[in-house]
């Protein structure tokens, strides 16, 4: 009898303890340019609200469509994604909102670079006519920038210039061996290729589009935002704190991330890599998202109908 009472009491208190645990944010992350997000898991000492007001479970995804599918299947509450991927998702009616910026393609900072061989006769995007360009996946940011560069040079993507999908690690060798004429390079591959030599810049993502714009953002499901607004605020307060720490202590932050296994590039190369622009307050460049959405609809015909970017963005959860 005593044992039964002890068991029931144990179950009761265990249930009570579980009920008092802060809500879990199931967060779909990627594998590039999300340093602040990764740091939230590596350096919990920088996130005073973590495990008190929310718990964070970061789950790695290789591509955005899979992240959105996991969200639709009820396996994720939030995640990272390029602004244009969220525009795609909203166009398909997925109920998610962008709440903060992670990094931007901006002048004066690192910008994703399209490179050709040093001895290539291709001097500008116009010279790509009849050639090929490598992007990491179709209908991604790298595809959009490549097409923007081609269109702005007066050429037609797919007709004048073939666009091939290739993984980032294969891009350098593909350009060097002449399998493609130009390739897309992000960090750390950009620095590795520059150190190796033999390649030169054709244009950057910033130059292709013509204005500073959002690269990677944080999104939340609308249901989670409505159910747990304070949790999202606490999470974003920590996120902004970590972003400020990262910007002030980039070298140390990168060493911590490398040690924790979030980055596989040799640490000496990684700490020297140029970095994208990161807003210290996580604020979004909403106008740039509007321009991207218009470009996707008007020039690329990637969207069946225009997307209301204002309805897609909600920065009210960020610290004031």
């Amino acid at each position: 009898m005593k044992r039964t009472i002890a068991l029931v009491a144990g179950l009761f208190f265990a249930t009570l303890a579980a009920a008092q645990e802060p809500p879990m944010i199931r967060f779909g992350r990627g594998f590039a340019a999300e340093e602040q997000m990764w740091l939230m898991s590596v350096r919990k000492d920088l996130t005073p609200n973590q495990d008190k007001k929310y718990r964070l479970n970061q789950i790695l995804f290789q591509a955005n469509p899979q992240r959105f599918q996991a969200y639709l299947a009820g396996e994720l509450d939030a995640g990272t994604a390029p602004g244009l991927s969220v525009i795609f998702a909203r166009a398909q009616g997925i109920d998610m909102k962008v709440v903060a910026s992670i990094c931007q393609e901006a002048s004066g900072h690192f910008s994703t670079t399209y490179m050709v061989k040093d001895d290539s006769p291709i001097k500008s995007a116009k010279d790509l006519k009849g050639g090929t360009i490598g992007v990491v996946e179709y209908k991604t940011a790298t595809d959009l920038w490549a097409r923007a560069g081609i269109i702005n040079a007066g050429l037609a993507p797919d007709t004048d210039v073939k666009v091939f999908a290739l993984p980032f690690p294969a891009m350098g060798e593909a350009v060097r061996s002449g399998k493609i004429n130009a390739g897309t390079f992000v960090e750390p591959f950009y620095s590795q290729q520059m150190a190796q030599g033999g390649l030169r810049k054709l244009f950057t993502a910033r130059e292709a589009v013509g204005y500073d714009h959002e690269l990677l953002d944080i999104w939340f499901g609308e249901k989670f935002l409505k159910q747990h607004p304070d949790v999202v605020r606490a999470f974003l307060a920590d996120y902004v704190a970590v972003t400020k720490y990262y910007l002030a202590n980039t070298d140390q932050a990168k060493r911590d991330l490398s040690k924790a296994g979030f980055v596989r590039t040799p640490v000496d190369i990684y700490v020297k890599n140029a970095d994208w622009k990161r807003d210290p307050n996580g604020r979004l460049d909403v106008e740039s998202l509007k321009k991207l959405a218009a470009f996707m609809h008007d020039k690329l015909q990637w969207l069946d109908k225009p997307v209301n970017v204002d309805a897609m963005v909600d920065q009210s959860y960020l610290p004031r």
Binding site: P65, G93, Y138, V163, A165, L166, E173, A174
Partner: protein, 252 residues
């Protein structure tokens, strides 16, 4: 009723799908209804581009498959009738059969480029294994009485191979072809999904990137129909050529 039997399970699966799609439990972006998939399928077949992309995939499939069939039958027959060739090749084939050749695709891209050649080469390699190994066992299992009879009647070694061994192992050759053909189609689609600017695999990848699950599933239906049609054609050809040992069913 007996004619309907092969379709019963398919109809049940489609009914379960439609029930799930209409239940409201899952997003239509994950579980599009059959109606939406049907609309996308109609769009696909009513446009010339859809047929062109199908032709591109079939051309790659048949290219790699045909080369593997020729090389695989020749190698298998030689291994089955020559102990020396079998001793040389068997360890190589047995030892590397389980290797996922798809992992070699990046190397093939660098060797043969981003176009069709790298895909055809990988299809050839993937199909070569089942073709060679099944044919090898077919060649080994030819009734020796048939061979002795041919030799007693003065047939040369080459003539014995062509007129006795090859016809006797034809059921095995067709079994190998039926194993290799779907492999060829699968590899064509996967390689197109990895890196291509055309073909059905490219369309699958493009539809996924656009979050158009209904369009992607419509293409999957086309791929399934192609696989079924090709297998039926192969079985029909087999029944014509191997008339002494007809197949009653397609999958037993």
């Amino acid at each position: 009723m007996r004619r309907l039997r092969p379709f019963i399970l398919i109809i049940l699966i489609l009914a379960a799908w439609e029930t799930a799609a209409r239940s409201g439990l899952w997003s239509p972006l994950l579980f599009p209804s059959l109606e939406r998939i049907g609309k996308e399928l109609w769009l696909f077949v009513s446009r010339s581009d859809g047929w062109w992309q199908t032709w591109v995939s079939l051309y790659r499939t048949f290219g790699g498959f045909a080369l593997a069939a020729i090389a695989g039958v020749a190698l298998g027959m030689l291994m089955g009738r020559s102990a020396l060739v079998a001793e040389l090749l068997d360890p190589l084939f047995s030892g590397t059969y389980a290797v996922p050749k798809l992992a070699l695709f990046p190397i093939f891209i660098f060797l043969f480029g981003l176009g069709s050649l790298s895909k055809v080469a990988l299809i050839f390699l993937e199909c070569l294994y089942p073709m060679t190994i099944i044919t090898y066992h077919g060649a080994k299992s030819v009734n020796p009485v048939l061979i002795w009879s041919a030799q007693n009647m003065g047939a040369s070694r080459l003539r014995t191979l062509a007129r006795v061994v090859f016809p006797a192992m034809l059921p095995y050759v067709f079994a190998a072809l039926r194993v290799a053909l779907p492999v060829a189609l699968i590899v064509a689609i996967i390689t197109e999904m990895i890196s291509s600017v055309d073909g059905l695999g490219y369309l699958v990848s493009y539809s996924l990137s656009s979050l158009k699950t209904d369009r992607m599933l419509a293409i999957v239906v086309v791929i399934s129909a192609l696989g079924l049609a090709l297998d039926h054609a192969l079985v029909a050809l087999r029944n014509r050529l191997v008339y002494w040992e007809r197949l009653d069913t397609f999958y037993v």
